[in-house]
């Protein structure tokens, strides 16, 4: 479905993507994770033909991207994080407009409209102005627009930002429904529990490179550790780096987070003593983290970026 080789992209002297390699199979929900500035948005923009790249090869849906951007776009859809719709148009006017842009007409238009409306449960609000919808309803309309061309490949960029739990669940159901309809979904999000919940495969990107890729289940199995995550108050990164330098298996995730790789009551007690001596307050301690968050934090710790 997607094969990326040696992909590099520069913004002036800044290397946004560094010989990135990625393979995504057909019919999966693929989670793309990475701290802010890791290169996720650049990668997704390039895959959607919105940005040029400096080196490498990209093949999407069996087609070479540079040679066939139009054909690939017709078979894929990008659902941006920002609500890319018109507040002053009604739900149905928005849908018809974007369908018109994609030159849909006749039976195909009717079928695709019905599909996008029903999967996103928009039936009761078709004549309502988009500007008057709730945050969750707007997100669903945003997704419905992306489904209009019945794409084989969908890019979701943080689709659940700033919405209530009920709407979030509805959106996650929609994404699962896309998979059931044999669509491939590339999903970027900061909500790691969501990724764990719906993704089949994940890749973690950091400093423009894929640092880990695989099926979620096996990655979590391999990563099964006794890690403990300390969330701290009134600490600074240099301060934490001094502590970590004196302490085995302790990693600095960011200026307010420490990750202790192996769990034992003595080690935890010892670390708490050190923190108290340094007058650093502990906000939260999470034990036995075998989840994606621990994996993510460990892999991206060196860069010190936030989640």
């Amino acid at each position: 479905m997607i094969a990326i080789k040696n992909l590099s992209k520069f913004y002036g002297d800044i290397r946004a993507l560094d010989q990135l390699e990625l393979k995504i199979g057909r019919g999966v929900i693929f989670g793309l994770l990475g701290p802010n500035g890791a290169g996720k948005t650049t990668l997704v923009s390039i895959m959607n033909g919105l940005l040029d790249f400096d080196a490498g090869e990209i093949e999407i849906l069996g087609l070479e991207l540079k040679a066939n951007p139009g054909a690939i776009r017709r078979r894929s859809a990008f659902i941006p994080q920002a609500l890319a719709l018109y507040d002053n148009l009604s739900v149905i006017e928005n849908l018809r407009f974007f369908a018109g842009i994609q030159k849909l007409s006749g039976a195909v238009l009717r079928a695709n409209l019905d599909y996008a409306i029903s999967v996103n449960r928009l039936e009761g609000m078709l004549n309502q102005r988009a500007g008057t919808l709730s945050g969750g309803q707007k997100r669903r309309l945003n997704i419905a627009i992306g489904l209009l061309n019945n794409p084989e490949l969908l890019y979701f960029d943080e689709p659940t930002v700033g919405i209530d739990p009920e709407s979030r669940n509805q959106i996650l159901e929609t994404i699962r429904a896309c998979k059931d309809d044999a669509k491939t979904v590339i999903y970027t999000s900061h909500y790691l529990p969501e990724i764990e919940k719906i993704c089949d495969e994940v890749a973690i990107i950091d400093h423009g490179r894929i640092v880990l890729q695989g099926r979620l289940e096996s990655l979590l199995q391999e990563e099964k550790t006794d890690a403990v995550i300390f969330t701290l108050l009134n600490s600074s990164r240099p301060q934490l780096e001094v502590i970590a330098g004196r302490y085995e298996d302790l990693e600095v995730v960011d200026g307010a987070t420490l990750l202790l790789a192996r769990q034992s009551a003595v080690r935890i007690g010892h670390l708490l003593e050190i923190l108290e001596r340094e007058k650093i307050a502990v906000k939260e301690i999470r034990y036995g983290t075998t989840d994606l968050e621990a994996l993510f934090l460990r892999l991206t710790a060196a860069g010190g970026a936030d989640v």
């Binding site: 919105l50 940005l51 719709l85 018109g100 842009i101 994609q102």
Partner: protein
């Protein structure tokens, strides 16, 4: 695809009440106000000057002097009694432009041909009287005095002349009694037979031009909104190219400009007369109207697109757009006609696209010329419009690439 872009743009504009007010209601109101405010300036049937005569002389000749002024339709005599200086001052501060005082004994001394000195006519003028009006009124009054002197002379000479000389003189002097129309034929440059320039003919083109440039506000507002809400990004991800995006803006706004122009013309033709000003008459060249309005549209849309791609917020775009609009209008002769401006300002006006469009419209509406006369203005406007659109396209493309 293009149809979808057009429908979307029209829907967004129709739902933007402020935009509709700026595009249609504001210029229509300006046309009404300016046509009515200036109607007397261009109407020779209506009085431009109100005056009163205080006749302290009370002779047949002094009454005749007053009646000389009455012949002029532009001068209107108010029949009010002004017996003292205080009353005269009050009148000049209020309804009157001039008060003429004919002192007692004025006509008698005039008839004797003595130096008048203390018995001179007194002319009191309102403080805000225009220089041209003062000169015209003075000339008219002095003309009346000269006629009075001629009449006195005729009366004195008549008993001294033979019957033959008198008959000859009567024949030769017939011309003096002819009305001005018999001696002078007035025709305005290029107008059709019987047509005169009116305030409506002057106002409508100005406010059409000004109103057309107000597409800057809705176009930039909608475009920046689309950019900020990522709908433009989404459209690009749906294979919509930059030229197609720009064309999706240009065509609707050119159509809106056409609608504006014809609506303003309709206001000039049918609404303005209801308020007492003269109706607009179309020139002889509809094709000329299309040429000028198309050129103006292209420049207005080009300016709007440039503002929309350069500025990042709606507030910046509407503020700068509004300022540019008003400056172009002020310099281009929309607010103050260029013929009132000094030479330096007139040269500056030649740099404003609004002045080019206005000149083109005045060629058609006021001077009654054909499409060939507006080709230079059309060429300049199209060239500038295309240049601005290309510049906007290049800047937009660069901004998109540096996403």
């Amino acid at each position: 695809m293009f149809k979808a872009l057009l429908i979307k743009e029209f829907r967004l504009i129709l739902r933007d009440k402020q935009a509709l007010a700026a595009l249609f209601i504001m210029p229509a109101i300006f046309i009404l106000i300016m046509s009515m405010a200036l109607k007397d300036t261009f109407n020779s049937e209506r009085s431009l000057v109100d005056y009163a005569v205080v006749d302290l002389d009370k002779t047949a000749e002094s009454a005749a002097l007053g009646s000389f002024l009455k012949v002029d339709k532009g001068l209107h005599e108010e029949k009010i009694s002004l017996t003292d200086a205080a009353g005269r001052q009050t009148a000049l501060r209020g309804e009157l432009d001039f008060v003429v005082e004919i002192p007692a004994g004025f006509t008698a001394e005039l008839g004797q041909g003595v130096a008048l000195g203390p018995r001179r006519l007194k002319l009191y003028a309102a403080a805000d009287i225009k220089k041209e009006m003062l000169e015209l009124f003075q000339a008219r009054l002095l003309n009346g005095v000269q006629q009075l002197r001629l009449e006195n002379l005729r009366k004195e000479l008549t008993p001294l002349l033979s019957e033959a000389v008198l008959t000859l003189a009567a024949d030769k002097f017939k011309g003096f009694e002819l009305p001005p129309e018999a001696l002078l034929k007035l025709s305005f440059n290029g107008r059709f037979k019987g047509q005169r320039p009116t305030s409506t003919q002057q106002s409508v083109p100005s406010w059409i031009v000004f109103g057309m440039f107000f597409v800057i506000i809705p176009l930039s507002t909608i475009f920046i909104g689309e950019r900020r809400q990522n709908t433009l990004l989404r459209l690009r991800a749906m294979n919509v190219s930059t030229p197609a995006l720009l064309l999706g803006k240009i065509v609707p706004y050119i159509l809106i400009n056409q609608l504006q122009m014809w609506l303003m013309i309709a206001v000039g033709m049918y609404v303005v007369p209801l308020f007492g000003a003269e109706a607009l008459t179309l020139g002889r060249s509809i094709s000329g109207l299309f040429l000028v309005s198309f050129g103006l549209s292209l420049t207005a849309v080009g300016t709007a697109m440039l503002i929309a791609v350069v500025f990042d917020t709606v507030e910046q775009a509407t503020t700068i757009g509004g300022i540019i609009n008003i400056l172009l209008g002020a310099v281009g002769g929309v607010m103050v006609p260029t013929f009132y401006m000094p030479k330096v300002m007139q040269s500056l006006a030649g740099m404003s696209p609004m002045a080019w469009g206005l000149d083109g419209f005045l060629d058609l509406f006021l001077r009654g010329l054909g499409p060939q006369a507006v080709l230079p203005e059309f060429g300049k406007l199209v060239f500038l419009g295309l240049f601005l659109l290309c510049l906007a396209g290049v800047i937009f493309e660069r901004k998109v690439k540096s996403l």
